[in-house]
């Protein structure tokens, strides 16, 4: 009788430990997956910020660079396309086009010293650089957290929990060309 009770207690204890371990592992995985989601949201936030900056930039440049109508129109068009793009593939394609158009605009601006001395333009330029950087860093953070999450769910012992609760590997934010990942090389000097 006593032996049976002892066995039951030991069994119960082991079970309890396993359950606790299982729960904490599950919570870890959820936390990691949320980090991935947050990082993805951050990319979106920064891309939106870039879209918001562009009309201001175009307005400012328009006042000085009167002969660059076509370049400016390209930027505006690329922005409109990026704003309305749906889906990861289309969006990254549109952003890439927008980055290219912005890069060309910044090259053209080099020829207008008055514009380059404009405080408003300089502030916008700093904002744009920073936003490009932020897009890059957000993407980097996203990929880092995806890597962490994927490594976790593919390795023992977390893979048991991941398999049971259907955690699947997330996709990396791959960029087709250097241009987008590097966040356009805009020369600002």
């Amino acid at each position: 009788m006593a032996t049976l009770l002892l066995a039951a207690v030991v069994f119960g204890g082991v079970l309890l430990v396993i359950v606790i371990w299982f729960v904490s592992m599950y919570n870890d995985l959820v936390a990691l997956r949320n980090m991935v989601k947050n990082a993805w949201a951050q990319i979106d936030v920064q891309l939106k910020r870039r879209h918001d900056l562009i009309p201001n930039l175009v307005e400012t440049v328009k006042g000085y660079a009167t002969h660059e109508k076509e370049t400016l129109e390209n930027v505006t068009r690329a922005r409109a396309a990026a704003v309305s793009a749906e889906g990861v593939g289309a969006q990254s394609q549109a952003e890439q086009t927008l980055s290219g158009a912005l890069g060309r605009l910044m090259l053209v601006v080099e020829a207008y010293p008055d514009l380059k001395a404009n405080q408003n333009f300089l502030a916008l330029q700093e904002e744009l650089t920073s936003t490009e950087n932020k897009v890059g860093f957000a993407r980097q953070a996203y990929n880092d957290s995806v890597m962490r999450f994927n490594t976790k769910i593919q390795t023992v012992p977390a893979n048991i929990v991941a398999g049971a609760f259907n955690f699947t590997a997330e996709e990396f934010f791959e960029v087709q060309e250097e241009a987008v990942r590097e966040a356009p090389k805009v020369s600002f000097s």
């Binding site: 980090m35 947050n38 990082a39 951050q42 920064q46 502030a123 700093e126 904002e127 650089t129 920073s130 950087n133 932020k134 860093f137 957000a138 980097q140 953070a141 880092d144 957290s145 890597m147 962490r148 490594t151 590097e182 090389k185 805009v186 020369s187 600002f188 000097s189």
Partner: protein
């Protein structure tokens, strides 16, 4: 990354426990000693007295610890920021700094952007405070903003953000509280013994059980602060390395931080150790007290040279693995960074990016190159004479002339030699000898003498041809020639705000 934090936390816990144990043991010893003393110093000390004394001592130490810790927790950030004279930046102040902090917040995935503070100080430096990543602050000096370009500023900010991210501030606050507690107690004990000990001993009633205890207490009072401080400094140093590794990982550009560290360390002329409270030192990116530290053992930061070498030696990569490899090359196998190893195990090597599109302004790069050149020339014993027309004339050490004319404006400059000053003094000495007849020996003893003309940098020649340079704050009234080992007396030039000082060469 998380592995690094976990390893960090384990190690920190161990260290804190160790330091706490030292503090409590110290308290217990003190309590027992006090109880024995108060108990009348019987020949045999009852275990009861020891028990009560020990308990009281431990409790008192614990109380000190908790009190200091609570002050640090509730007031720490504000005290530190106020001590540094920091003011919070508004969005209008400097867009660049705010943006760079934003960028690094994203890269480090902090839950919230830290507050940004500006310290009006020409010396370039930065530090981070805040126990929780949700409620942290980064402070940067105005000198740093002026000195660094965007990439370098990013590196420095990334280093500070890494401190926040790795929960270093929380740990360092806890640790510095323990250091302060132990130091407080040991200072109290030593002072008490020096002032009160003599009188008691003459009373004659204290003997027996008191003496060995006294020895233990004194040994403790001397050793405990040193032990605690060493523990504290050791982890402060490896935390710096880890923060550098994180900064490289966050920015993907180790050269940015390396270049910033180079610029800051060249600029140490404006570091003012007397203005920085000792407690603030481990928080800064570069230790402002570095010149004062005795040896590597007592340094809060690893040598800046090593940090630069490691960052430069990452070979175009930016992962923890790469930092660890570079660290091993510079520091050898002896240094083990558990946290960094853990991070490196879970990480892949990542490629570094190129410099950002903002090149250094041309004037600034020329200025920097000039500074480096000056430094090299100074080591090669060249004498630099600034001419009024803006040119800097470099006089080689073996030039046997008294005057030199400027190649641009033909102004004639006198090359300062110690020799001529010495001749003049010798002449006065001869005159004095003729008058008094007795001071000849003394005049010969002070054979070399140089009168300072200004308070800034200046250089003169020793009789043997060696150029000697004096800095603005040179404190002594003599210097020794490195080549011929002769002593050269220095006399302060007339100071602008003190015209009454009359220079009397014969005195």
């Amino acid at each position: 990354m998380w592995e690094a934090i976990a390893a960090n936390r384990r190690r920190s816990l161990l260290l804190i426990t160790l330091m706490g144990l030292i503090l409590l043991t110290f308290g217990a010893c003190l309590g027992i000693f006090a109880a024995v003393q108060l108990g009348g110093g019987q020949e045999t000390v009852s275990s009861n007295v020891i028990l009560t004394g020990g308990t009281f001592g431990t409790l008192a130490a614990l109380l000190i610890w908790v009190a200091l810790w609570l002050t640090a927790v509730f007031q720490g950030d504000r005290i530190l920021l106020r001590a540094a004279g920091a003011r919070e930046m508004s969005a209008l102040d400097d867009g660049r700094l705010g943006n760079v902090v934003d960028e690094m917040t994203i890269a480090a995935q902090l839950p919230r952007k830290p507050r940004v503070y500006l310290v009006e100080d020409p010396s370039p430096n930065a530090f981070a405070v805040g126990r929780k990543p949700e409620n942290a602050a980064v402070a940067v000096t105005s000198g740093l903003l002026r000195l660094l370009n965007r990439d370098e500023l990013q590196g420095v900010v990334a280093h500070e953000i890494a401190h926040i991210h790795n929960l270093d501030v929380r740990f360092m606050t806890m640790a510095s509280v323990l250091v302060a507690g132990v130091e407080l107690m040991s200072r109290g004990v030593l002072r008490g013994l020096v002032h009160g000990g003599g009188g008691r001993r003459t009373g004659g009633s204290r003997k027996g059980g008191g003496l060995p205890l006294l020895v233990i207490v004194v040994v403790f009072a001397i050793l405990a602060p040193v032990a605690v401080r060493l523990l504290y400094l050791a982890c402060s140093r490896w935390r710096e390395y880890l923060a550098d590794a994180c900064a490289a990982r966050f920015t993907r550009y180790p050269d940015g931080l390396a270049s910033a560290l180079e610029k800051i360390s060249v600029d140490t002329s404006s570091l003012r150790p007397e203005k920085t409270a000792g407690a603030l030192a481990p928080l800064y990116i570069i230790n402002p007290l570095e010149k004062l530290s005795l040896a590597g053992l007592f340094a809060t930061h690893p040598p800046t040279q090593n940090r630069i070498m490691i960052l430069r030696g990452m070979g175009g990569r930016a992962g923890y693995v790469d930092y660890e490899a570079a660290l091993r090359k510079v520091e050898g196998q002896k240094l083990r960074l558990t946290a960094l190893e853990a991070a490196a195990r879970a990480d892949e090597s990542v490629e570094a990016r190129g410099p950002s599109a903002e090149p250094e302004p041309r004037e600034k790069s020329i200025e920097r190159a000039q500074k480096v050149n000056d430094l090299l020339d100074r080591f090669a014993n060249y004498l630099i004479l600034p001419c009024a027309c803006g040119i800097r004339i470099k006089v080689p050490p073996n030039l046997e002339r008294d005057e030199i004319s400027c190649s641009r404006c033909d102004r004639v400059h006198v090359i300062p030699h110690a020799k001529r000053v010495q001749e003049a003094i010798a002449g006065v000495a001869v005159l004095g000898q003729a008058l008094a007849g007795a001071k000849a020996v003394e005049a010969k003893a002070a054979a070399l003498r140089y009168e300072r003309r200004e308070e800034g940098w200046e250089a003169f020649r020793c009789e043997c041809g060696q150029t000697i340079q004096l800095g603005p704050g040179f404190p002594l009234d003599y210097t020794v020639c490195v080549a011929c080992n002769r002593r050269i007396e220095l006399k302060a030039g007339r100071e602008k705000n003190d015209p009454e000082v009359v220079v009397n060469p014969s005195s």
